[in-house]
């Protein structure tokens, strides 16, 4: 057997070790980010999600001022945990709009009654059409849209207290 062949198994091992060590050093980012970041908000018009609120359409998001668009649902448990943090963002001067996904007016009203209403406008998205158009991976999820209606930042999953500073920074950048 030639000398080189003896070392083939060893070479395969080293290649294996190099590649998995690389992965251990740089953990995989398993989040699939929206391709819409940096793009204008797709055109849509949603009816009000419940009585006494205004619906949401894409022109509402290009008013010269930035908006935070929160994709939520009354049936979503993490959204309950997120609700007080949205109130805190509102107190910090963040204008928040919402898309209520696959929801019923009565349930939305009950959710707002129980957990507070930080939203200026709430559009009802019964078939998840707008949620999908935004490139949202689930509920809850938040997008920061700048004054020209361009999506600048995507926050996946519920907003937690540690996320507030980053969100406020992105908010300032979008102004």
């Amino acid at each position: 057997m030639s000398r080189a062949i003896r070392f083939v198994p060893l070479a395969i091992l080293l290649l294996f070790v190099a590649i998995v060590a690389w992965r251990l050093a740089i953990p995989d980012d398993t989040k699939i980010r929206s391709r819409m970041t940096g793009q204008p908000v797709p055109a849509f018009a949603l009816a009000p999600a419940t009585h006494g609120v205004q619906g949401l359409s894409s022109p509402d998001l290009a008013t010269g001022q930035p908006h935070l668009v929160n994709v939520f649902a009354s049936w979503c448990v993490p959204c309950i945990a997120e609700a007080p943090l949205l109130m805190e963002l509102k107190r910090n001067g963040v204008a928040i709009d919402a898309v209520a996904v696959r929801d019923k007016p009565a349930d939305v009203a009950e959710f707002l009654g129980r957990h507070g209403n930080p939203f200026q406008r709430i559009g009802s998205d019964p078939e998840s059409m707008v949620q999908i158009a935004l490139g949202s991976s689930g509920v809850p999820e938040s997008f920061i849209v700048d004054g020209k209606g361009i999506i600048r930042y995507q926050h996946m999953g519920p907003i937690e207290s540690g996320d507030i500073p980053a969100l406020l920074r992105e908010w300032e950048k979008a102004r």
């Binding site: 057997m1 003896r6 070392f7 198994p9 060893l10 091992l13 080293l14 294996f16 070790v17 590649i19 998995v20 060590a21 690389w22 992965r23 251990l24 953990p27 995989d28 398993t30």
Partner: protein, 640 residues
């Protein structure tokens, strides 16, 4: 107290492993004299590790929530079987189980091995101790299963509901017995290479371990496949998931080793190759353990990702596999090859068998790691799925099945007698099956058709080695081979039938609706609530009829409150010619229920084949051990 005693036993066992390694390296007097001590130390190490594991099981059975591991993975309201299984349904416990099997295997080797000379056995036990020492260090430094929790919670977090299944009680231990049983083949190969004693005696010492490990891996994979089939509710039996591949790769290497070890034991051939396979087989076990435990590959088996632990296991496996492969490269020139053989011979057939199995192993290894390779080198994110594995590994596996028509009929060394008469039964059955499939089912795919053809041919071909023998004098090992090969035929028939003839129906149905699937008419009667010890469920009642036969199926959608999870419990009716498989999905806004129905003709043959293969292996193992014992007795009597 129990937790502290367990931890103490673990530390003592680690100390004994260090002592065992030191003695084997020649410290404490000449190696020849120390072997008696090494044996005793190995037995002590095995007993202490078993004790530590018993302590952990006791903690789980008592629901001692002051132990972190119990609190995180158990629940006082859980049925006792799952408390018991919970001991290894988590990272720390499963690693302790791993080390326990390793240490006990070393103890058994030390107690019963009589085929190896003393010094080779000493070197092998040294290698086994080196393996154990690394994994003890891993447990004690990075995965202490006995860590306390203060204050202790009342109830604990529970076990993932998907894992609350009788299958879990046996699936991981069975696989681990297989994984770690291969460690002995590894250690014996290392011992033989260190001592430059690559002889048939090495192969004979290795063989029962390879057989036993292979039987366990076969059972573990078969059980895991059936578990995924009925528990995940996808109707499939193999998903080429990285964790499945992690168990398939050692199995492929062990299957190749099983065949080549026979060539070395019987004919003295394939020495260097067999040693390499012995190293590769356990290396694949370690790679598999690493892939599963580091969570490095995206998998349905979503174990926690922990870079520290991953790094630790990676360092261990680099050290062990790298060291062994360097040793192999250094000693391979000294390995003498045994008796030569011609291409058309049993040896020739087994060489082709080994090559094909190695190619399949390479294909699975590459496919499993390719997403990582692609991202590291090309910066592309991709996943490799069934289309690759089925279309690349499938044809090679069928080539292997084709070889199985011929190989077992060949004689050792050279075979110049006419072969065709011996092949005739298999070929005939294959041709009949091919023609029948062309007439009955002209539309099925090429791979399933080839599977049906070869599977049918293999049924008589696998029994052929019994032909012309006196059945009473046929050694048990030959019966084992026949049974295992018959199992391969049965499994191939099941796989081919499943992919060729399965009928699927996905519908949204209201109570009262009737759905047709295959030969069955399924009436959706109602949905009722149901409850179990730690879950509540919605249960559908389905009335399925075929001809005059009527059965009731009750698939469930189960909700477990702690942790909150929903699982689908498929309802499966098994009849002689297949399974009717029903899954209840969610209810839509119009009040219709998602209902998924499959009719899977002869699908059960897949697992029946797996069990036959394992039984064949067990029979061969028992046969070999009995025969060796009677031979030893005869030798002893001759000396008296």
């Amino acid at each position: 107290m129990i937790a502290e005693a367990g931890l103490a036993a673990l530390w003592l066992a680690a100390a004994l492993a260090a002592l065992q390694l030191a003695l084997a390296c020649g410290l404490g007097g000449g190696q020849g004299r120390a072997v008696g001590t090494i044996r005793a130390v190995a037995v002590g190490q095995g007993i202490l590790t078993a004790l530590a594991f018993a302590m952990l099981v006791a903690l789980f059975l008592r629901s001692d929530m002051s132990v972190l591991l119990v609190a995180e993975n158990s629940h006082s309201q859980k049925p006792w079987l799952y408390k018991f299984a919970g001991a290894w349904g988590n990272h720390e416990g499963s690693m302790l189980l791993w080390v326990m099997v390793l240490a006990i295997a070393g103890a058994i080797l030390a107690l019963f091995e009589r085929r190896l000379d003393e010094r080779t056995l000493g070197a092998s036990l040294g290698a086994q101790a080196a393996l154990a020492l690394g994994f003890f260090a891993f447990l004690l430094a990075a995965s202490n299963p006995f860590e306390r929790l203060n204050p202790a919670p009342i109830d604990g977090r529970g076990l993932n509901p998907l894992l609350q299944d009788p299958g879990l009680a046996f699936h991981p231990p069975t696989l681990y017995l297989g994984y770690v049983g291969l460690s002995v083949a590894f250690s014996v190969a290392v011992g033989g290479l260190i001592r430059r004693e690559v002889t048939p005696a090495i192969a004979r010492a290795m063989r029962p371990w390879v057989l036993a490990a292979w039987v366990m891996l076969t059972l573990g994979i078969t059980a895991g496949s059936y578990w995924a089939y009925y528990e995940l509710g996808w109707g499939g039996w193999w998903f080429w998931d990285p964790v499945e591949n992690a168990s398939l790769m050692p199995w492929l290497a062990a299957t190749a080793l099983l065949h080549s070890v026979n060539v070395l034991a019987a004919r003295g051939g394939l020495r260097a190759w067999t040693m390499m396979l012995a190293l590769v087989a356990f290396s694949m076990s370690m790679v598999g353990t690493f892939l599963v435990r580091s969570g490095i590959l995206t998998s349905v088996h979503a174990f926690a990702v922990d870079p520290t632990r991953g790094t630790f296991i990676l360092a261990l496996l680099t050290l062990y596999i790298g060291g062994a492969l360097v040793l192999l490269a250094m000693r391979i020139a000294d390995v003498k090859e045994g008796a030569p053989f011609q291409v058309v011979s049993r040896e020739g057939g087994l060489v082709v068998n080994n090559l094909l199995l190695s190619v399949i192993l390479g294909v699975v290894f590459l496919g499993t790691l390719y997403p990582l390779i692609a991202e590291a080198m090309l910066g592309v994110k991709l996943s490799v799925g069934p289309p690759y594995f089925n279309s690349v590994a499938g044809p090679i596996a069928l080539g292997l099945a084709g070889l199985l028509l011929i190989g077992p009929q060949l004689r050792w060394r050279r075979d110049s007698a006419p072969i065709l008469p011996r092949l005739a039964p298999g070929l005939l059955a294959a041709i009949v099956a091919l023609v029948a499939s062309l007439i009955v089912a002209p539309g099925i795919g090429l791979l399933p058709r080839l599977g049906l053809t070869l599977g049918a041919g293999l049924v008589p071909a696998s029994v052929m080695p019994l032909f012309g023998r006196s059945l009473r004098r046929t050694p048990l090992a030959v019966w084992g081979m026949v049974l295992a090969h018959l199992g391969v035929a049965v499994a191939i028939l099941g796989m081919a039938s499943d992919s060729a003839f399965t009928k699927e129906q996905l519908t949204a149905a209201r109570p009262g609706d009737t759905v047709a699937v295959g030969p069955w008419l399924v009436e959706f009667r109602q949905v009722m609530p149901a409850a179990g010890p730690n879950w509540t469920a919605l249960e559908a009642e389905l009335r399925a009829s075929r001809g005059s036969g009527v059965i009731i199926l009750k698939p469930q959608s189960r909700f477990f409150p702690d942790p909150p999870t929903t699982t689908n419990e498929a309802a499966i009716d098994t009849s002689w010619n297949g399974q009717l498989y029903a899954v209840l999905g969610e209810q839509d806004e119009q009040g219709r229920w998602q209902l998924r129905l499959w009719w899977k003709p002869f699908v059960t043959l897949i697992w029946l084949g797996g069990i036959l293969i394992a039984l064949g292996g067990a029979l061969a193992l028992v046969g070999r051990l009995l025969r060796e014992r009677s031979q030893r007795r005869r030798v002893e009597e001759a000396f008296e």
